[in-house]
Symmetry: C2
Subunit: 304 residues, 2 copies
Amino acid sequence: MESFKVHILGCGSALPTLRHEPSSQVVEIRGKLFMIDCGEGTQTQLRRSHLHFNKIGYVLISHLHGDHCFGLIGMISTFGMLGRTAPLHIFATAELEPMLNQQLAFFCSHLGYEVVFHTIDTTQKKVIYEDRSLTITTIPLEHRLPCCGFLFREKALLPHINKEMADFYQVPLSQYGNIKNGQDWVTSEGEVIANYRLVKAADAPRSYAYCSDTRYLPKLWRQIEGVSTLYHESTYLTEHIALAEKFYHSTAAQAAMVARDAHVGKLLLGHYSSRYDDEQVLLEEAQQVFNPSVLTNESDIIDV
Amino acid sequence: MESFKVHILGCGSALPTLRHEPSSQVVEIRGKLFMIDCGEGTQTQLRRSHLHFNKIGYVLISHLHGDHCFGLIGMISTFGMLGRTAPLHIFATAELEPMLNQQLAFFCSHLGYEVVFHTIDTTQKKVIYEDRSLTITTIPLEHRLPCCGFLFREKALLPHINKEMADFYQVPLSQYGNIKNGQDWVTSEGEVIANYRLVKAADAPRSYAYCSDTRYLPKLWRQIEGVSTLYHESTYLTEHIALAEKFYHSTAAQAAMVARDAHVGKLLLGHYSSRYDDEQVLLEEAQQVFNPSVLTNESDIIDV
């Protein structure tokens, strides 16, 4: 199966600690890398991950709080020093563009590649990226300022070749592509072998939803129903639910309620408040609601 | 003796590596903390140092390359979240002010303390800070854009009490301050004890010069003659002197020539090019010219 992974670069929240970096993830899908959020220090985490800098073509910023975007200018600058030539596409709300442009003009005046800014509307569920195998759609969230999540969805996959049948009918490798795409096969004796006999069911398309930061949205499940993997912020324990409400964040149990209601495959927790020395307590509260919950940690690589 | 120390938070150069953080130091003098430069990740290094965030009253930015200032907005923001109320004074060239103001307005609109911007003229040798025990003076340097160093100089220190004599003449502790400041002492019998008999020579005032980034300036020694400790950037080995000239940086040997010509107490090396896996070679080249040279490393605390 083609790769579809999430690399956790940072899973802390606003206050930096020595245990967690601010928010950043890289979604790796079929060799392409999409960064989500870019807190301070992301470029160092990226180096630690050994991911290929030049393969990052897209950076999606969920919202303009510093712990989700202060690492952007440093990373762009470093990409330039490393000789990048491929454009870098930044998706964020409109307010970032003039600030970024001012910084680029001053600090990166000799950048050898183009930074292409794409404005996103966090109030709409909208496809912001599409290629032949993937779509990325915004997920409206509710935070203290405009904020959205991102839904990565594989398009329907091609079926697998039924190797036994293909060998039996002496189908050459060069024809596998055509057969995956639905053609029948005509043997040297002129016998027509129906396509369905030569293939096995395709893998189910996978999907990944990233939801950070947001207050608990009881109907969020509708937008992400059945995704393979959900990342949902889980800043607080239930005992601090008043803080979650005040700051438009979620508890681990609320994240798990969204995961449960959406019938997702598994739930990734993150954006931990710095007040907890050990996130195990957050995990326990989530698992009571939705068992396939896991804690994310820096350097984790998670199969979607 | 009162404390006068340099805390090394980062000693790498423009390209971040996993071995070194970008430029930042904290000068600790009599309990006050002055930060010099603030590359990305400085706030994390500061946390690692266990220095008290609120004691940092001043941030001096030598020049506006990203590896010397990209950490500023994140640190300012974090100080705010931690409830700081004391003003923070930023010294930098004028171009930073509008960019910083724009970022502050957007990201730190509810900051509970004042950020006070002070424009520095990098072409002048000028006192930019003074209190009763210390002056800080700019040191004009030559880099690809306006850049200066900073000279921290203790004012003349008060003499020590000659404890033996003070006890002999039964001088009460409450009078030590007056005697340090030059008063004679009159005994209960009316005998006048001349001040010079009650004190011992003061410690020599100490001084610290920070010089980064700059091309080799053969006459720089005149501005820093006799300082106790000199930090001078040492980006390259002599074999890469052409790069040093091209990018307005210095070699370790050139840093050592400045130190030797200025008759400083010791030389701190830093701002190492990421091309060297082991900075020992830089140290060796410096020590051939000026033996009391040392490599700086993150987390080092150096007595001036």
